[in-house]
Point group: C4
Chain length 232, copies 4
């Protein structure tokens, strides 16, 4: 009973993935965490979205141990666990194989900041973490994927509270946020930015990146003390 | 009560944006103006389309001051205000981040006039205004965006009554028209032209532009005294 | 009353265009002819598909004169009239600005026969008629468009009973067939072939065309005396 | 009565093709086999999906002879028959002209293994069988298509139980599996992989293939004794 809230959040957020056209079959998962309790609810592995219910969500602790639920949690559960354990300010994570973002991940390229749609959400290229070493892959793979994400952001000097999305090279995108719903929002935004960045390159292979003043202006419109977008 | 008409028009026109697949989440806005009264109704900032109602539309004057409504108007309100104040023949404006048009804007390229679909609506390449100076960006950004649009059309010797769409470099498209509905129509037309222009380039990088006689013929079919398209 | 049949056919066929995602707004039209009576029913000009009814179809003779109906017929009516008058074996014509076919038309390139989907329907590249001379454009434009189509097929030594689709350079596709329904089918097939041909080129710029034996095999499976596709 | 089971399976699986956006009109077919009885149920030729019923499925033996049903079976029936006769472990086959997979087939290129979405399903490039010789095409074409598929897998040293999808050069994809449902699943996965591989190439023409350790890891997550994806 005590996990009802995060199970409902995880269920609702998972159901948004097919509605937003971000997943084929079961190729994606969302979790919703309670940082106070040190647990998160996540999609069960390989269950079609149309068969999901709140009760089928699996509750797991930040070491990846199942706490509640009869089903096996997502095969990516340990990646989620590592991120929650290390990033105390987030309570939602999304992993998809959405078409355009995954194509950039497969191309092993960060997504250049070409326009204000991008700058409305982050001030730098969307990072692409390099594929892991063979040792990490052969070892505790999903666990290491979490650390690969954390280390890549650190190597770039970026904060996970400002940069809420990343590509894992050869693999696919991960996004996160204060809530599962925000993480889903970030996944859809990333997919749109990835699509427009591909077309921008095709229209003009020498397209320059956005200039600093415009990056700052658009980001500040939506974020920080002087933000004036939205109703809050 | 006196603004009921433009609020209804603005509501209906805003709801067409998701129906026409021109927006993700809240990334777009439409306004409907009354040039006689010097006011326009516009979408509130950051409110999801599914939550919109006629009553949530915000009425603003041509200097961008709120006249009626409890919500904060779109963050792009001052751009709309500048255009209405300077262009007395228009009563509708649309701003979106639609995929293909935004990609051309990010590429900082005008859309070449490649076919009759384009010529049915305008006789020149769809202009792309250059990004603004740092001073303009750091200053009254949305207000300056309006002037950037006006100045770019003037620099090209184009009339806003004939050219009802523009790309703002690095940013996204703006369209306008005699009514909000016509401005929405122009947004969808622009998106289709932008998509076909990209594919045309990919099929034939040396594709020539439309020749003058064909441009004139198609534009005149739909516009001016000799027009014979439609029922009027 | 005597034209009820072709008006119903024209109505049904026109309504398929938005259902098959082949038109934006009113950018397309279908006609259904009765070669015995020398008349055809066609979409009224500029009327949105959602407002169409059987009664709004306009009946026109093969010189383009309105015979029945209160509305102005499609602005492309004379092109249809010329084709029906010269090609006695067809009773359906479709014109659209569908995205991929129009992009090839704008690129002024015939669509290479790259695969069996293409060969199932025709044995040669999908022709692209060159833009007309300035004189033809300034003159009786839609009438001349019909002759441009006829002359281009003749110049290529092709028969309109075997080749039921063409691109008009800088403009868009026309398709036809024994019935309006078959002409609509051809429009959707053309759009799919045009899309796959673009992607084929992008995947392999040196992609060879289909070899003769495979072209003949696939076309004969669906057409001619030895056909064994379908139930007839 | 004895074929009710495979007819129902074939019907359900065929109806998934339009739902998954894998077919235009009738350009695809699914069969469901009973290896014990040496028969399979397949879509009738040229019948629109909206007109299909369980009773319209045609039951055919592994030499392609009709056993039950009033309609002519799919024109590709002999290809299915050859595969079932030679591959005793499969009971489902799908053929489509899905947009992206067909484009790779037309380009006559195997689809490079660029990412984990691909490696989740197979460990090698998706094979593309070369077009057949003129003799094979002019002869028993659909029968020879089956052998072309079998021979190409053998030439590459691949097992049909591990590699459940192939492109036939200049033609289109075939997929198979233990059930018709699994074969349909494979068709949708192939289409998604084909789409992302095209975009990956466009983003980075030098994109490297997935490294061996990552291929192995992802395949083993879903397949074999140590698999930990899903609920079984």
């Amino acid at each position: 009973m005590s996990y009802k809230n995060i199970k409902e959040q995880a269920y609702e957020a998972n159901m948004q993935l097919p509605a937003l056209n971000l997943v084929l079959f079961t190729f994606g998962n969302v979790s919703a965490a309670d940082q106070q309790k040190g647990v998160f609810a996540i999609k069960p592995s390989g269950v079609p979205y149309e068969d999901l219910t709140v009760d089928k969500m699996v509750v797991v602790d930040f070491d990846g141990n199942s706490i509640e639920g009869n089903l096996r949690p997502s095969s990516d559960t340990k990646t989620h666990a590592v991120l929650y354990k290390n990033w105390s300010a987030i309570e939602g994570i999304v992993h998809t194989h959405s078409t355009y973002a995954t194509s950039w991940a497969q191309a092993q390229r960060a997504i250049p900041i070409y326009g204000t749609t991008h700058a409305d959400h982050l001030t730098v290229d969307i990072p692409c973490a390099p594929p892991m070493s063979d040792e990490m892959i052969k070892g505790n793979y999903e666990y290491e994927t979490g650390f690969q994400i954390i280390k890549h952001l650190e190597a770039l000097g970026l904060s996970y509270t400002e940069i809420e999305m990343i590509l894992v090279g050869n693999h696919a995108p991960f996004t996160w946020g204060k809530t599962a719903q925000k993480a889903v929002y970030n996944s859809a935004v990333l997919e749109s930015i990835a699509q427009m960045a591909l077309f921008t390159q095709q229209i003009n292979p020498q397209a320059p990146k956005l200039k600093d003043s415009l990056i700052k202006k658009h980001f500040d419109r939506k974020h920080g003390d002087g933000a004036y977008y939205g109703q809050e």
